[in-house]
């Protein structure tokens, strides 16, 4: 079966400082995510999670390797019709309303005005922004922006949802809401790739997890293989980080 996400030997370096010192952000990353899977991407701060995600949505280009979504190179603009992306700490246009934001998301993916309206109605209810949909985004709190971002990423009902820290900045109700959305997407056979620092959420939703430390993918396995006996995901995570000799910032 064709994997929905396929990363083949991805490497990426960044230049830093006046002397352009090279920093290895990702080193030879190989990963596949199958259709209908919820994949949790874990790692300490600065491990390369967001860089990997940005390669998947073509914001960054890898130095080496190939990134494919639905068997098409992520460079191909058309592939993003099937991808929904929620950035970490999303920031939108201050003077647009949430409704206009979703209109933009729908229009750019080729939805009709009626389809956008129906889908927006459904999503605003789901993310609990029904009463704030006509308000300009500059009046939104961090959590509300996160929820608007989630609605935007799902407006076109994508086959693949890539969510970078979707729980960030949310209160317990907001986290539950995001969890419900992920579970609903999973039930509908969608593929979800998400990064998170909240390991209990990862345990709740994910079929498989990958742990990246200092740019190298240290472990990829099914959660039910990892959580045997009394083992918690936190134990697995800490063990992998320590094995890699990386600093722990959780």
């Amino acid at each position: 079966m064709m994997p929905m996400i396929k990363l083949t030997n991805i490497s990426k370096e960044f230049k830093e400082g006046i002397q352009a010192k090279k920093i290895k952000a990702i080193d030879d990353l190989v990963l596949e995510v199958q259709k209908g899977e919820v994949f949790g991407f874990l790692g300490p701060n600065g491990a390369g999670k967001s860089t990997t995600i940005k390669i998947l949505v073509n914001l960054i280009r890898p130095d080496k390797g190939k990134a494919l979504i639905m068997d098409r190179d992520v460079n191909d603009t058309a592939v993003r019709k099937h991808v929904g992306y929620l950035p970490e700490n999303p920031y939108f246009y201050d003077y647009l309303t949430a409704e206009e934001l979703l209109w933009f998301g729908g229009k750019t993916t080729g939805l009709s005005a009626t389809a956008i309206k129906n889908r927006a109605d459904e999503l605003f209810q789901k993310v609990n922004l029904e009463n704030a949909r006509k308000r300009q985004l500059r009046t939104y709190s961090k959590g509300m922006l996160q929820r608007a971002g989630l609605a935007l990423s799902l407006i076109h009902d994508p086959d693949v949802a890539i969510l970078d820290e979707p729980m960030s900045g949310l209160d317990p109700l907001g986290r539950k809401m995001v969890g419900d959305v992920i579970l609903e997407l999973k039930a509908r056979g969608k593929t979800i790739f998400f990064s998170s620092h909240i390991l209990t959420d990862v345990e709740r939703f994910c079929d498989r997890v990958g742990i990246i430390v200092a740019g190298r993918l240290r472990l990829v396995d099914r959660l039910d293989n990892l959580l045997v006996g009394n083992t918690k995901l936190e134990d697995v995570f800490l063990r992998e980080v320590e094995k890699a000799g990386g600093g722990i910032e959780i």
Partner: protein, 270 residues
């Protein structure tokens, strides 16, 4: 076009609702009101002064619009990472630049049309109060001056987009745009001076002449769009000049936006 229009429309909406735009418009309206008082103080040439002040107010507002609203429309996308949201849609980087620029051009045209109507009203009211001071008056010339001013602001915003495509902060884009504006406004005069230095009794080195000539072909000559004197004095302008200037403005704008799109395609957004 399917993706250009949504980008252009949200850019336009974001710009037209920006509070800085209201401030700029208010400043222009105050100038138009002040026009009555200032023109009335002159015992002669009231018409010329009124036209000059009205056109200058529109010109200044256009410049402020490009520098403080236009630059932010693109640079803020990069500063605040709003660009993640846009580029993660099925939009290529060239489409993003073109869509943004179309939105900005629409914003400039809308604002300039509004300010031009206000400027025309201010001139018309002064003309009604002091009819004897408008012996040679031409609405078409005023309209042409306003249109050329709009075109020069669109060209300047295209250059701002070009700078934003490779700079890392909005401040650098602002500084570069201001420098180009100043050079563009004074380039003609400087070239005329180095071409015939003997007329003012100075000596210009060969290297300076070469440098000015290079700058003349590299930087946009924004003074060709300045028709305030022609409008104030209702001077005749040949059709060839109008045609040449419009072509020059459009080609320069297209080159700047194409350059911005090419550079932007190579850029990464970590």
């Amino acid at each position: 076009m399917n993706t250009l229009w949504p980008v252009a429309l949200i850019t336009f909406k974001e710009g037209i609702r920006n509070r800085a735009l209201y401030g700029i418009t208010l400043l222009a309206l105050l100038f138009f009101i002040a026009n009555f008082l200032i023109s009335g103080m002159f015992m002669q040439e009231v018409g010329k002064v009124a036209i000059d002040i009205a056109l200058s107010a529109v010109s200044l507002s256009g410049l402020l619009l490009v520098l403080f609203v236009g630059i932010n429309l693109m640079a803020k996308d990069l500063d605040k990472k709003t660009i993640y949201m846009v580029l993660s849609r099925p939009i290529s980087r060239s489409q993003y630049i073109l869509g943004k620029f179309l939105g900005m051009a629409l914003l400039i045209i809308t604002t300039m049309v509004f300010l031009s109507v206000c400027a025309a009203l201010s001139i018309q009211l002064i003309k009604m109060v002091y009819p004897n001071y408008f012996p040679r008056f031409s609405w078409p010339m005023i309209l042409l001056a306003l249109s050329f001013n709009t075109l020069s602001m669109i060209l300047l915003s295209a250059l701002a987009f070009f700078f934003a495509s490779f700079t890392s902060t909005s401040f650098i884009t602002l500084v570069l745009t201001v420098i180009v504006y100043i050079i563009g406004q004074s380039l003609s005069d400087v070239k005329a001076l180095v071409d015939a230095p003997q007329t003012v009794g100075i000596h210009v080195s060969a290297a300076t002449v070469k440098l000015v000539q290079l700058a003349y072909y590299l930087f946009p000559n924004l003074s060709v769009f300045n028709l305030k004197i022609q409008a104030a004095h209702s001077l005749f302008l040949p059709a060839s000049y109008i045609l040449w200037t419009v072509t020059y403005g459009l080609i320069y704008t297209a080159l700047a936006i194409t350059g911005a799109a090419i550079i932007f395609r190579l850029r990464e957004f970590p």
